[in-house]
Symmetry: C2
Subunit: 394 residues, 2 copies
């Protein structure tokens, strides 16, 4: 087991009606005037924003609305939020939504607390981030895990770069999670969320040669839980218990608990981010589209690890590591397909002509112009990344 640090200070408030505790939670965290960050109209139409505002008012907390957070949230939109937050003397950023709203809120918090610095410079660590405003989240999509994670992702539309920042300042003060709020998710978003949740744990699992029993047990148990309950919610979105499992898994999958003693990789995310930056694909779908190719490209370099995954997560009963590993990969890809996710580039982009030039562009983007090596199984540069994207053509 490697040395590690683990810090998850986010207070989880989980269950039916929990959004009614928003005002009290903001007040307890020291907020007096909130920027309410959310996405499209569904949070308004469903009455959720109104309920949250009522709770804020009852707690004596003021607020300003800031809607319009988009999937693959942009730097420009966050910068707009910073302007409003500064003008309105906001001291707390409250996100209502999924990863897009929460990551936008985190970016606005960083920008508002550092008015003399360019947000993208802070984001890319060109300028060190030393302070931020407190952020809270009311979750409506179980997927990104941003409600408990130290990470956030923005796209700079001017340069086409999609990048994440990991910092303790990204930890939400509280995360309010009512599974009922996810009953009305579009099915494609539900499936993409399930994929993203699985991937957050899988990106921490496929690191060979480090012995971590408890971390493995938690990871494997979490994956079994998502797979089982994912099947249920795809047929019955109003199943409270199943949605509750998915939602709790989304947080545990990405709050670093599944990496303790081993660390993380996140190379598949790099492949997906490059795809989403160019084509604006749904994040979870972009991961499903490349994971099978990524795994097939690498499993022979860590057959024992992939075999353990197959046996523990998919109950594969085969004494041979290599063939178990392959069966586990096939089962995972089949699962993604069964919940409606694309499992190849042709499926995610049927109208795209996947030329060598596009593959090359994606490979360069995923490896930051061939300056970083991906994967902790073996080093993946731009050349190998292109081979993986080609394998994902199918």
């Amino acid at each position: 087991m490697n040395n590690f640090e683990q810090y998850t200070p986010t207070k989880v408030i989980f269950g039916k009606g929990s959004e009614e505790k928003a005002g009290e939670a903001v007040k307890n965290a020291g907020g007096s005037k909130v920027l309410l960050v959310y996405g499209g109209g569904s949070a308004v139409k469903s009455g959720l924003i109104e309920r949250v505002e009522k709770s804020l008012t009852e707690a004596g907390v003021g607020y300003i609305e800031f809607g319009g957070a988009k999937p693959n949230p942009t730097l420009a939109h966050a910068e707009d939020g910073v302007v409003i937050a500064k003008t309105e003397n906001i001291d707390f950023i409250l996100a209502v939504g999924g990863g897009s709203a929460i990551d936008t809120a985190k970016a606005i918090a960083h920008g508002t607390a550092n008015p003399d610095k360019a947000l993208w410079d802070l984001w890319t660590k060109k300028v060190p981030l030393t302070k931020s405003l407190p952020v809270g989240a009311i979750l409506t999509i179980a997927a990104a895990g941003s409600e408990m994670s130290d990470s956030a992702v923005l796209t700079n539309e001017e340069t086409g770069a999609k990048g994440g920042i990991n910092t303790e300042f990204n930890r939400c003060r509280f995360a309010i999670m009512n599974p009922e709020l996810t009953f009305t998710l579009p099915l494609y978003q539900q499936a993409a969320g399930i994929t993203d949740i699985m991937m957050h744990t899988m990106e921490r699992y496929f690191i060979p040669k480090i012995k971590c029993d408890l971390t493995d047990e938690i990871a494997e148990g979490l994956l079994r839980t998502v797979i089982k309950n994912g099947k249920i919610v795809m047929k019955d979105q109003n199943n409270y218990d199943a949605q509750a499992e998915i939602m709790w898994c989304s947080s545990i999958s990405h709050n670093n608990l599944t990496e303790c003693g081993r660390g993380k990789d996140f190379s598949v995310h790099k492949f997906g981010h490059a795809l989403s930056a160019v084509f604006d694909y749904t994040h979870g779908a972009s991961l499903a589209a490349v994971w099978g190719a990524w795994a097939e490209y690498l499993y022979k370099d860590a057959p024992d690890r992939f075999a353990k995954f197959a046996r523990k997560v998919w109950n594969i009963d085969d004494p041979d590591d290599l063939s178990s590993a392959k069966k586990g990969i096939d089962a995972t890809v089949a699962y993604f397909k069964s919940i409606g996710m694309p499992v190849s580039l042709k499926e995610i982009g049927p109208d795209v002509e996947w030329t060598d030039e596009i593959i090359e562009l994606l490979a360069m983007k995923a490896t930051m112009q061939d300056t970083v090596k991906l994967s902790r199984i073996r080093p993946i540069g731009a050349k190998e990344a292109a081979e993986i994207y080609k394998l994902a053509l199918r």
Copy 2:
């Protein structure tokens, strides 16, 4: 799944050499003058206290030593610590040791921050606890889980009462965990620690009729991990990876993660606390001595739950719930015995004459003079508690 809140703000600093980060950790948490709370001479003799003091000095943090924390820590000793902390203007309490040192530190923190209130009144919630000093822990015994828990236990020697308090003020700011520090534990303490860790999860597991997939997966995985690595460390205490698993399990077992959506019971702890309050037995041993009787008394009222435990934790392959349940109980008792724990009252107290009067005294103590009902399987008052103690005679 029931509604829940989960809040684990303790920063975990885990691994080899982590005690050298003590000074920095105290400073980051705002401490400038530390009361260093520890137990007997082993922390001094091993050079640990000296290393910690060096780290504090290097970080510019002052300190005063306060040794002598005992197993089943006492109110009187904590009160002595409060006097010193007040006189010396201490602003941070740092425990070096296991649950006894950490619980003593928590009590001193509460007492010092509330100089006008009696510590036992705060402890028993006669007077509400509204503030405390920050506490940190350097763990040398994996057992109590106090390093990440919201609980602490003290014995009032004047009245013979042993009682716990759960409060957010009991959360350590940081927990430094170097598994190497546990290599020299007496084997009996090692085994008692293993038992206590298992019990913290089992006390949250045996609550019927609530569906919690992820929480069950984590609990079952944790128990398998402790059982497996417990066997290893009982034969080879210098096995770093195995001690690391035990140590990480001790924290996860008691930081509330294994109760999310279900809650907790802790009735076996009540039976054990009564035994330790009267006879000063090692905490873990007191749990092992009664658990088998407790389980046999109750399993027929929740056979599905005990059967799940048997199948998932002990790999019992039997389609019948009742007989699976019984086999799981037998396997657990046999495991406790195999690591040297007493599994009956006669084994824990071979020289005690276990008269009806003593059984009655214990039963009344465990149920707070028959004023509270134990267990969430079915209500256990003083009468039933006496029956369980008698079953534990064997």
